[in-house]
């Protein structure tokens, strides 16, 4: 309808060739509405927003390099004798999967490079997803309305680990075979269904002849399809919500401040893809990853010392190492009712990961329940301005890191020339006290940073210029901030604990009391943002001395 015109209303004619092409496409498939919506959509800019982009781009690189590898890889576990050009393994008996992985490395031009690119970008993918989630957590970006997108992101983290692990096992080399052996041992420890699950997964006894082709299907079809689906949902929600922004002058929950998508933001983000690809290529060029030819084909008998899983599986492997199998003469593994309860494997394999992921998935709702904060948030928190949340995050991070470090306990022992047993004992202790220490230290650091912000907002920044006053006193001159810089330091919310409120029956129930207690724990230590009155007072009272007496700052302001 819109394309038909009447003689007295001249048709809109595009004047440039770019405009004519746009118009041509639009008149046939539509889309001008979408372009109008997105062409100039504003995106906030911050270096920490790039982690998510790195994740997306490394996934694209994974798809590209992975497709290349599928053209040459054969996931068969049939026995063969190696006849490729890597001399040390000539005539060695191995599976077709391992042999074709060697062929990709040594006989396909660029195959080694593509394997390297694929493995490095896989490591980078999980890493960037993880760091991106840390950024989202510590800045409070998961708050309403983005809770569901946080859940989608959490699913993506699990899927990225699944993609990594299924791919890691495919070359059927000695290292990954031992990884599968461990998985088999963990699966067998599951009560009731463990043995059957293991037999069904491996198509019989370990290692069998099926597992590689089954993992291959999961790795190249099911898991990437799910990841793609989740990425689409993730980005769709980013568009619906619009991006969050860091606090600062001119920014509030009602606007988005940044660069328009076209051309600046699109150029920066698009250019960044090539930069990520370039960096991955550099790593692939110079740092060997997973040299399967050194490990040899899978054989249940040998294993090399210092074996390590890929980094993202490390925390589970570390938990397995930390768990004692016997405490004194008491065996952690128990025989009850004639059946085995393998707690020494079950507990470390399931409980820490279970706790981490459960808290991760539910945290937005936990915090919302405690704070009763049902408002939409589009301006991020600086981590210091949410001390308790930041402390919780660091406690979780340290807990994870202790387990992760435990996966390298043998390497820690050999590198630092300490006893392996001592490393384990220390890490076992840190497993329990590490998160607690991290919580308190982080919270204190965050509060101290807030006090520093207050001080700078009220008294200006230190210039390092020492001035001698006429009566002989030395002072350091403090330069006042401009109002934009000051607003960045004072423009945040500092909630106070929310006491228990009666419900509609006028009763304060037990759940509400518990919530009030948690709210007190969450918000009782706080530093209020500086106010104009305080700034006035700071200037008026002290006169020339204001600068040197900046140290006096209150922990909690009454209001």
């Amino acid at each position: 309808m819109s394309s038909t015109t009447t003689p007295d209303a001249p048709a809109f004619v595009a004047k440039t060739s770019g405009g004519r092409i746009t118009d041509f496409v639009d008149q046939r498939v539509g889309g001008s509405g979408i372009l109008r919506e997105f062409g100039r959509k504003v995106f906030p800019d911050h270096w920490s927003f790039m982690f998510g982009e790195v994740a997306l781009y490394s996934f694209v690189i994974l798809l590209l390099s992975g497709t290349f590898l599928t053209f040459f890889f054969d996931p068969s576990m049939a026995e063969t004798h190696y006849s490729g050009s890597y001399t040390p393994l000539k005539n060695v008996e191995m599976s077709v999967a391992y042999s074709s992985s060697l062929d990709i490395s040594f006989d396909v031009r660029g195959g080694m490079f593509m394997r390297q690119v694929h493995h490095w970008s896989a490591l980078l993918f999980v890493a960037s997803v993880s760091v991106h989630m840390l950024r989202v957590f510590f800045t409070g970006a998961f708050r309403k309305p983005r809770e569901l997108n946080w859940v989608v992101g959490s699913v993506l983290l699990i899927l990225s680990m699944a993609a990594g692990f299924t791919g890691y096992s495919l070359p059927d080399d000695l290292l990954s075979g031992n990884g599968l052996r461990i998985i088999d041992g963990v699966i067998k420890s599951i009560p009731v269904i463990g043995t059957y699950t293991s037999f069904f997964l491996f198509g019989g006894e370990f290692p069998g002849t099926m597992i590689i082709s089954r993992l291959y299907m999961l790795h190249i079809l099911l898991v990437p399809a799910l990841i793609l689906l989740m990425i689409v949902m993730h980005l769709f929600m980013v568009v619906v919500h619009k991006h969050t922004q860091y606090p600062g002058p001119g920014r509030n929950d009602g606007n988005v401040v940044g660069y328009p998508l076209g051309p600046v933001y699109a150029a920066k983000a698009g250019g960044f893809f090539f930069i990520v690809f370039g960096v991955v290529a550099l790593m692939a060029a110079f740092f060997t990853i997973n040299p399967i030819w050194n490990y040899g084909p899978y054989d249940p008998s040998p294993v090399s010392a210092g074996t390590q899983p890929d980094w993202y599986i490390g925390f589970v492997d570390g938990a397995l190492r930390l768990m004692p199998g016997t405490i004194g003469d008491w065996k952690v593994e128990q025989i009850w009712f004639g059946h085995m309860f393998t707690f020494n494997v079950l507990l470390p394999a399931l409980v820490p990961a279970g706790i981490l992921f459960t808290v991760m998935f539910t945290y937005p709702w936990i915090e919302r329940w405690i704070t009763k904060d049902n408002r939409e948030h589009h301006v991020l928190d600086r981590p210091r301005n949410a001390p308790t949340r930041t402390a919780i995050g660091m406690a979780g991070f340290v807990w994870y890191s202790v387990m992760w470090a435990a996966a390298g306990s043998d390497l820690i022992a050999t590198h630092f020339h300490v006893a392996l047993n001592d490393v384990t004992y220390w890490l076992r202790a840190l497993f329990f006290i590490g998160p607690i220490i991290a919580f308190f230290v982080t919270k204190r650091v965050a509060l101290a940073l807030q006090r520093k912000d207050r001080e700078i907002a009220l008294h200006g920044r230190e210039t390092g210029r020492i001035v001698r006053l006429p009566h002989g006193e030395f002072i350091e001159v403090h330069a006042p901030l401009d109002e934009y810089k000051r607003y960045k330091l004072v423009g945040f919310e500092s909630p106070v604990p929310l006491p228990a409120v009666p419900n509609e029956h006028g009763v304060v129930d037990r759940k509400e009391k518990r919530r009030a207690k948690l709210s007190r724990w969450f918000f009782e230590d706080r530093v209020a943002p500086a106010t104009p009155a305080e700034l006035e007072a700071a200037h008026g009272h002290h006169g020339a001395h204001e600068a040197v007496e900046a140290a006096a700052s209150e922990k909690t302001l009454s209001h």
Partner: protein, 357 residues
């Protein structure tokens, strides 16, 4: 301001915030004034930035050429050495890196130096209007009401039952993914042949049998059952259960329990090499301390105490293989393991009882 609170008055914006209402706050000064870049004011600087971007794109072209040259010029002949592969890999990587980084840094530099860098502010719109929100709730309520599902529990309950059961075939159809475990995990190749011939202990991997006289004090052998290498299929499955470590100690250092008194020969003992934790090979033998260590999770077993766990996550000792010497002086297994080897599984205890019945 900017407070998108909604919901009932009971919970809207109930966060108590200090200095929000009672105390005067600093006013938002707005977006800081835009500062011009050098390239905005000085045409020469702009021209320079333009040349830099072009140069970066130029490096990308060079990178592509490096890639192509190293792809076609380096020959991976039949016996290409690792050094050749390494060289080609490095050159392909450098080429790709230049090609990609040239484009990437070029575009980003272009955007940062030459494209408009005015920060603009755009209003956020509510995800949906209040009207839509209420209408949506009403529509869902109406739909539920019109189906009558709340008023007709018979329909609801039978539907729930049917839907709950319907996925069962989808699970059952995976029943042929693998065979039933039965007792396969509790038997290994070490069981004597049907004619009563005992299996010799052979070296891993070449399969040559081991004479007792070859085993000196302090030595250790990686052992497989004789005949394993000749299996036409299932070789790895059998090997995964039957690998054994053979060590010889001073007989005085072994402290066998009475029922295992004749399981060793002249200080020579054989233990399963598969860790009782999650199944890695317990490949490290500390000759001085007589400890066996699993490199995967550091479970440590004491050989002088029948491989009792003395450290790490394993709970059970390594199973011992009873051995003796045959008429020709070769080491043989007098029976299969008396218990299943490797990681613990749910039915293990029944298998132990079954093996010893």
């Amino acid at each position: 301001m900017g407070n998108h609170s909604d919901g009932s008055p009971n919970n809207s914006g109930t966060v108590a915030t200090a200095g929000q209402n009672e105390v005067e706050k600093f006013q938002d000064p707005g977006i800081p004034p835009h500062r011009l870049r050098l390239a905005d004011t000085d045409p020469r600087a702009a021209k320079k930035a333009e040349r830099q971007v072009a140069l970066l794109f130029g490096t990308s072209v060079v990178g592509t050429l490096i890639f192509l040259v190293s792809y076609f010029a380096i020959d991976l002949g039949n016996d290409s050495s690792v050094a050749t592969i390494r060289l080609q890999n490095a050159l392909l990587g450098i080429g790709t890196a230049f090609a990609m980084l040239g484009i990437g840094t070029g575009i980003v530099h272009w955007a940062k130096a030459l494209m408009p860098d005015h920060e603009v502010s755009e209003e956020r719109h509510a995800i949906r209007t209040e009207e839509d929100r209420q209408a949506a709730v009403r529509i869902v309520d109406d739909i539920v009401e019109e189906t009558g599902i709340k008023r007709r529990p018979l329909i609801r309950n039978t539907l729930l039952g049917a839907v709950a059961l319907a996925p069962l075939p989808a699970l059952a159809i995976f029943g042929d993914l693998g065979p039933r475990p039965d007792f396969t995990l509790s038997h290994t190749l070490w069981a004597p042949a049907p004619d009563g011939k005992l299996k010799r202990l052979a070296r891993d991997p070449d399969g040559t049998p081991i004479k007792a006289a070859d085993v000196t004090i302090g030595s250790a052998f990686h052992v497989i059952p004789e005949g394993l290498n000749e299996l036409s299929e299932g070789k790895l499955n059998e090997k995964a259960k039957s690998v054994v470590l053979l060590m010889r100690l001073d007989p005085d250092e072994l402290h066998p329990s009475p029922e295992r008194a004749d399981w060793a020969y002249n200080g020579i003992v054989a233990y399963s090499k598969i860790c009782t934790h999650v199944g890695c090979p317990v490949a490290l033998y500390e000759q001085q301390t007589h400890h066996l260590l699993c490199p995967c999770h550091q479970s440590t077993f004491d050989l002088t105490q029948q491989c009792k766990v003395i450290f790490g996550p394993a709970s059970r000792p390594l199973p011992q293989l009873p051995i003796a010497v045959d008429s020709e002086g070769y080491l043989v297994a007098t029976s299969d393991f008396h218990e299943p080897v490797g990681p613990t599984y749910w039915e293990r205890e029944q298998h132990v009882l079954n093996n010893n019945a």
